[in-house]
Amino acid sequence: MKLGLDIGSTTVKCVVLDDDNKLIYSTYERHFSQITEKIAELLNRVRGEIKGVEQAQVALSGSAGMGVAQDCGIDFVQEVYATRVAANTFIPGTDVVIELGGEDAKILFLTNGLEVRMNGTCAGGTGAFIDQMATLLNVPLEELDDLAKQYEKTYTIASRCGVFAKTDIQPLLNQGARKSDIAESIFNAVVGQTVAGLAQGREIEGQVVYLGGPLTFMSELRACFDRTLGVKGICPENSLYYVACGAALCAENTIDFDEVTEKVKHYRGSGNFAFNRPLFESREDYEAFCARHAKADVTQKELEGYTGRAYIGMDAGSTTVKGVVLNDSGELLYSKYMPSTGNPVEIIKAFLEEVYAKNPSLNVVSSAVTGYGEDIIKNAFNADYGIVETIAHFTAAKYFMPDVEFIIDIGGQDIKCFKIHNGAIDNIFLNEACSSGCGSFLQTFANALGYEIDEFSKLGLFAERPVDLGSRCTVFMNSSVKQAQKDGATIEDISAGLSLSVVKNALYKVIRASSPDELGKRIVVQGGTFLNDAVLRAFEMEMGTQVVRPNIAGLMGAYGAALYARKKSHGEGKSKLADADELKSFVHEIKVTNCGLCSNNCRLTINSFGGGRRFIAGNRCERPVTKKAPSSDLNMYAYKLKLLEDYKPVEGLRGKLGIPMGLNMFELYPFWYRFFTELKFEVFKSPFSSRKLYQRGQQTIPSDTVCFPAKLMHGHVQTLIDDGAETIFYPCLSYNFDEHLGDNHYNCPVVAYYPEVIKNNMKDIRKVNFIKEYFGIHRPKDFPKKAYERLSFYFPDLTLNEVRVAAKKAYEEYELYRDKVQAKGDEIIAAAAKQGKRIFVLAGRPYHIDPEINHGIDKLISGFGVAIVSEDVVSSRVSPFRTHVLNQWTYHSRLYAAAKYVTMRKDMELVQLVSFGCGVDAITTDEVREILESKNKIYTQIKIDEITNLGAVKIRIRSLLAAIEND
């Protein structure tokens, strides 16, 4: 008889196998992080139920069981290894096992060279991820599967980590997308994540076995895998217990049950964990603290029977919807704080109905709406004004502290911070998709540990040793919390630790402050998360200063919107906002369709509200709304794309040579095109990126943390192969052209050497003549000879003379291309200056003009009537200068130069595009910021990845525009 235990991140499984390896006992339970108690309980139970189990050999497996096993004298078996042993025993002939657990995703290749893959530390949980998504959709887990079965369409949801996916799903919900479609999209994201993140170029084929909770309980998820992989996988009996069975199969030693249960029961971690000072030393401290904060108060008045002028403010946020009604003096007549269950329209409708029910003759003078759902709410209910969140919050904060210097708002999903300088917003910090663990982050943990959020955060107030958890995203935090628990931290310590972590995240990751002085002394904190006393205290402690938290901290967006409406209306007129009668006949219909007006082919959600009012969501430009193409006249990004299209293939006797259109090729294509065309190749490029193209190469990406532009290269090369290229040319380039702007002229390691990754990871590359040689384009004199040496290996009939001539033409073509770009840039700047338009330098890398990479951000910005130039247009307008960093990469030198130039012009602003995972930009962003801020320019950074939430980008751009207009 053998006994196996599997201690997962959320559940415990226990099995007993008889001598023929038949399962005679099994149990599966959630442990709510009470791991040791649960083990002791299970061991006792199994002892009562199975005779003779004391003689069984015992082993333990599972990620959360490692420490316990070691300290209690039970043999430990690594869980993937256990799965493998079980699969080989129970289903011989299995080729691939796909197992999803609470937090792990694994693929095991059992035949043709054993390989085991687990998700990296970045790629978020899977079971936990699905849990989170179900919570977000507000449906029980079981229902998610049923919903998914009824899907009609799928949306693209980032398959990186839960936080990312959340930012994709929330806007979809706000835009009224169907839950069934979202459910299916979530499953697709999980599949994409598993396949792209773990297969790493190895094909999943043959006999596939699905294991683990999510795949056992959700048949649609299995169906999704089947469809994507083109296989018919099986989910065997006892699929939940494979790890436990594997552990049992590996078990070699018996244990003394009494001794082990005793040890397990008394198992305490080492007690060694880093911790902080307690939040409060005593009850008195806490009471004094509460009394101090009670002072920032808004007076509450009665809505019923109120006859004066009223102003309504609404804030349709990501996880909550807020509404307020104010009187003339800014006093609160009514307010409501409602969790967003997905569709903000219904919630706002209910809010308005309530208001009208309480006061049927209410004289609404004006109304305004803000937040993620601003557009849809404004359209649905005819609100008078829509304002960007940042301005709404600033307006509200000023009411409490007219000379406020810094506002920090931590909401359910966003962190918004603004620095106020001379009464205007001077600097904006928004959390990037990666670190958005905020209010909902605490919520998730509270729930996971079996508490309500209020109760949970209160636990931390008097914790003796608040755990130091650092500042990390939710996924990492999960494991850190587990570790702390193992080390003996109490639930109180963890609660306090998480509150501290929220604060540290905001301070050090979002604001990037190093000392309180940077933020100023006059600070207003707001957002629902600050209603939590533990978080507020942690913030004051970390900052070493006292701050103001209004009692309506959670309502500030709506309050600011109402104040804004009051100001704009000057107390006159009548609001257009839907009245009680209009609400009665209110309808909301949702239709999903594809736009089809341009190559982006955005997936549109069309909301109709009766009376001809409709709202379109999901569009990147205004074309489906206005039916007019966005003007690309003053958009350098559009021009550059057009220029590249102009290089058409010319038939040549040396055959077809394909060049993948990605990374540095966005700028070097003219060079190589001319070079090889002169050498009589028919040079063609892969098409501009698209989602489909990306997916064609997705399975061969070896590193899931490399930047998206690099990942796209796999799709480009695959497309070239499929399109019949005989030769693919993708050279390694350590150095770029020297533009004499910096100390050196390197390419970044990824741009320089990505061809090596393509060669080593794409199976089909062997079908073509793949040239990834190293070239030195930075040395025009040596280039022909060296290029000839390299190329004659592939094309022995080439002559040095031919190469010389071609090289000369290539350098000329490159110059010509740069001149064209420069000329067009100058033209745009001149035209904009003449028309009095603002000019944005949309600064990034050459490849950021790829619409699949920039997600149409250029079009979005030009939609605001702003002219767009790229960094290289203005970088040549300044002479070299000293930076505070080693200025050694060609593309990055341009950024510094461009920033410098922008500081010299009143009509220019700089917006930096940063690809997620770009290590070099960790250096450039700080330096660009410094250059801009030294001359009082606002620095705006937009992080982009595979998927980007344009809603957040819009907020940034609108805030920036609002801030400069106020200047």
């Binding site: 420490g67 430990f76 290894y81 530390t121 500042s471 490399v706 050196n744 390691p749 090596e756 004199k781």
Partner: protein
């Protein structure tokens, strides 16, 4: 107190002769303990009052996070965090302290560490602390120069460090008397340190003699050779060696009853010199520099040969010579891939697999750019060339929990143990 002088062109704070004279404490990060202890003696012998930072603990990463961009690589966070933490600790007279940090000048982010350090110092209000770049001519300081005699002793120190690390790794897991190996490492570290301080022990002849004696001493340690899982560790150089960065990886592997092999620093030194030679061959350039680098590489190769010969003489597994390691990577990654650890990282994995250390931990800071290419990006190909290679890649950063990392390593070890068991069983059936 020494006057603060700034470079005229760049405005950089200089480390002056006067500072050296006044005995400024020069703080150095402790990347590889055995090596750096000896190297410190080298610097001391030239009148630099160097001190190795031995501090550890979570405050260091916390300090780093506070003063450096959080997306910067982990080694930068740690090294800079450790410096600032030390300066703020009150243990040093900050007005009489300087910092020393290496700068390779490659296309990787690491060349920027020194600038990030200066930015951080400024942020912490410590901008008056001079920073010395340990590099070949990237930044000059009147109070510090890498003279030929210093370089020779420095390289000598590297050789001893490498040999001590190699031998102790091969002996320690099997020693009969616990602690004997490390005691010998200690003794020999002291011995070579004092030699270098006295200006001896770095010529080829002396190195040869010392290596012989040293290796012989290690061969005398009583061992019990039971089969153990042999694990090689490669990766970004700081994370690979530094206990603080890799969460005590070597100790963990020792606890798991493994024999560990860490390729030495000499390979890295050869690689960095060789890059200049390859650059010249690939793109053209300055012939004189090329010739100089070739000589330098020859010299390093000679020293390397001495190490290999000494190891072989006493039946240790010697490291491959650089030229062979380089040959191994042909067709896998081009020699032009030179940023960070470049192709050497890939080559070391191949070398380890060939040398019987087929279980490999590839360590990297989270988001390490060159490792996308040479680490994770090359593993598929490595397994094609060396099907026995059993590789796990581990990312390190301030938030990566140790428990996850260890779990992944355990998986690799489970597969390694299975192989080992198979092999020992095969052997015993052969014998019967």
């Amino acid at each position: 107190m020494a006057e603060l002088k700034y470079d005229k062109k760049t405005g950089r704070l200089l480390f002056t002769k006067q500072m050296k004279r006044e005995g400024y404490t020069i703080l150095m990060p402790n990347m590889a303990p055995i090596h750096f202890r000896i190297l410190r003696s080298v610097f001391q012998s030239f009148g630099y009052n160097c001190e190795l930072l031995e501090t550890t603990g979570p405050e260091i990463a916390q300090t780093g996070l506070k003063y450096v961009h959080n997306d910067t690589c982990y080694p930068a966070l740690l090294v800079i965090g450790q410096f600032i933490h030390a300066l703020q600790s009150g243990a040093y007279d900050v007005r009489k302290t300087a910092l020393m940090i290496t700068q390779t000048g490659g296309g990787c982010r690491a060349s920027n560490y020194i600038f990030l350090l200066r930015k951080a110092l400024k942020k912490a209000g410590l901008e008056f602390v001079p920073v010395i770049s340990l590099s070949f001519g990237m930044e000059k300081n009147s109070g510090f120069s890498l003279t030929i005699p210093l370089i020779r002793r420095f390289v000598g120190g590297l050789v001893y460090g490498d040999q001590l690390m190699l031998l102790s790794n091969q002996i320690k897991p099997y020693e009969v008397n616990k602690g004997e190996t490390m005691a010998l490492v200690e003794r020999w570290s002291d011995r070579v340190s004092s030699m270098l301080i006295e200006g001896r022990g770095y010529t080829l002849e002396e190195v040869d003699e010392n290596l012989h004696k040293l290796t012989k001493d290690f061969s005398k340690i009583e061992v019990n050779r039971t089969p153990k899982v042999k694990v090689g560790v490669v990766g970004e150089i700081y994370v690979k060696y530094s206990k603080m960065a890799n969460n005590g990886l070597e100790e963990f592997l020792a606890e798991q009853d493994c024999e560990v092999c860490l390729p030495g620093l000499m390979g890295f030194a050869s690689f960095k010199v060789d890059n200049r030679i390859e650059d010249y061959k690939m793109f053209g350039g300055n012939r004189i520099k090329y010739e100089f680098c070739k000589r330098l590489l020859d010299y390093v190769t000679k020293l390397e040969t001495l190490m290999i010969e000494a190891a072989e003489r006493f039946n240790f597994v010697p490291p491959h010579c650089y030229a062979h390691t380089k040959e191994l990577v042909k067709g896998v990654i081009g020699y032009g891939s030179k940023m960070g650890e470049g192709w050497l990282l890939t080559a070391e994995m191949l070398e380890l697999a060939e040398n019987g250390y087929e279980n490999i931990v590839c360590t990297q800071p989270f988001g390490c750019l060159p490792n996308h290419i040479n680490g994770k990006g090359a593993i598929r190909k490595i397994k094609e060339v060396m099907p026995n290679a059993n590789i796990v890649t581990i990312d390190y950063d301030p938030g990566a929990p140790k428990v996850n990392q260890e779990n992944r390593i355990k998986l690799m070890l489970a597969v390694g143990r299975e192989e080992l068991k198979k092999r020992t069983e095969d052997k015993s059936t052969e014998n019967t």
